[in-house]
Symmetry: C2
DNA sequence: CGACAACTTGACGGGCGTCAACCGGAGTGG
DNA sequence: CCACTCCGGTTGACGCCCGTCAAGTTGTCG
């Protein structure tokens, strides 16, 4: 999706409306936020660990991931992000980035000065609540990921990641949870699940052989969602979607 | 520590002062929060998954952990908590608990109505910021834990957990980071690191054999903190202390 | 048609889990 | 004051899940 095709801050406004009862006036304020909109290529860094951040990045189209590096050089992806997501809201109150954010597809992002967001949160309790709620849901997802990489076996872990991605895409209005396109490579799935790309490949094929998913390149279909939920140990409660 | 020995909401007030520039007046408001203070035994549940929460629990003395369960019954501890910690601030804006909180020692806790906290955050931007900041730091710690269980080997993982615990204790004024008492069993360390208690035992003894730590029952001494940091791949930046 | 990234597959090995036994200190009750 | 109990910690043998290494294969884009 190119620059001309995105509809301004609408993805963000929609997300805030999902997060809480935000008034029409508040929505107008969000749409009026001062923002520099840019198209960026795959692999572009939006946040870098150790850097101070004075602007907040909003993903308008495309996909991104947050990741951290171990001393060995191993990478751990700690979250994936969809259009509408605020990519570094934590820097509203934390001065230095403790992780990286990088696009995994071509993307369009809006850079908003932190000061403008601060002003908005001071003006509107509803917006402030919605943003805080967003950070709380992010934290809840991180907790689930700790459980996922800490206590589930490889097949369950990958299935869980697929379920979460599908559920979040659907809830963001990006299509159906039972048929969707994965934006990430198997190596990125590996980095998100604490596995190797080789083993991710084996497990994806196993899920396919089990009939849990159907694959055509990166297109995934989940015919029997109840079955998949059970294979994946997936209970969407932690997503706190409306 | 019994009921009579804790000094009211002081641990919380001290924590908020560490989190941001909170005025003397704000501190008074915190100390004046309506609270029911209780002593609870080891293993007591303070938050239960699936339950709605209308009160917020503040840990005044003792230690607690948050955990989630996988379908197999395996438990994953996603964080440990120290005196002064707010144990379920997420329920300020999320209606249903997505995890459990349980004491791991005898403890004294204060139950504060959510409404009183809402009132406080509405009145004071500084308190609101401090609490939000607290939830952001929690999230940062969760991200580090995802990396820890996802990409570090067992020895490093345990060493990292020890470093984090030591650093947080010191920063909370509970003693020195180079000599401290662990409140948790090896099984709880295992559940926090995604390992088994058997392997935790092996790795603790390996760390001891390497000279990284000295142990006497649950008392840990870290003679060479720089060495330990390097073994543990520990960089305290993610704790966003001071 | 060549180059490259992503995916696929097989052989092999190791880190950590599993199982099972034992130890040792703290609390309890006779 | 000593047996008994129980929980937590310790140890060893064995095996499996997943990592490593290495070699293809496929699709895409110039």
């Amino acid at each position: 999706m190119g620059l001309e095709e995105v509809e301004g801050m609408n993805p963000l406004a929609r997300k805030l409306q999902r997060l809480g009862r935000v008034s029409e006036e508040d929505v107008q304020h969000v749409l009026a936020l001062p923002a520099i909109v840019k198209a960026v290529p795959t692999g572009h860094y939006l946040v870098r660990e150790g850097r101070p951040a004075t602007e907040c990045c909003v993903l308008l189209s495309g996909f991104a991931c947050r990741h951290k590096l171990a001393a060995t050089g191993a990478r751990q992806i700690v979250s994936f992000h969809l259009p509408g997501d605020l990519l570094d809201l934590q820097h509203l109150l934390l001065s230095v980035a403790d992780h990286n954010v990088q696009t995994i597809t071509e993307a369009v992002v809006a850079w908003v000065p932190m000061a403008a967001i601060r002003k908005l949160t001071a003006q509107s309790q509803a917006i402030s609540d919605a943003l805080w709620r967003d950070t709380l849901i992010d934290a809840s997802i991180f907790r689930e990921w700790v459980l996922n990489v800490g206590r589930r076996d490889a097949k369950t872990r990958i299935a869980h990641m697929l379920c979460e991605f599908a559920a979040r895409c659907e809830s963001a209005g990006l299509g159906s949870a039972s048929a969707f396109e994965l934006p990430m490579t198997q190596e990125q799935i590996a980095d998100a699940t604490g596995l190797t790309s080789v083993h991710v490949n084996r497990m994806l094929r196993a899920l396919e052989a089990d009939g849990a998913i159907a694959r055509d390149r990166r297109h995934i279909r989940i015919a029997d969602w109840q079955n998949m939920r059970s294979i994946a140990d997936f209970d969407p409660a932690y997503l706190h979607a409306a």
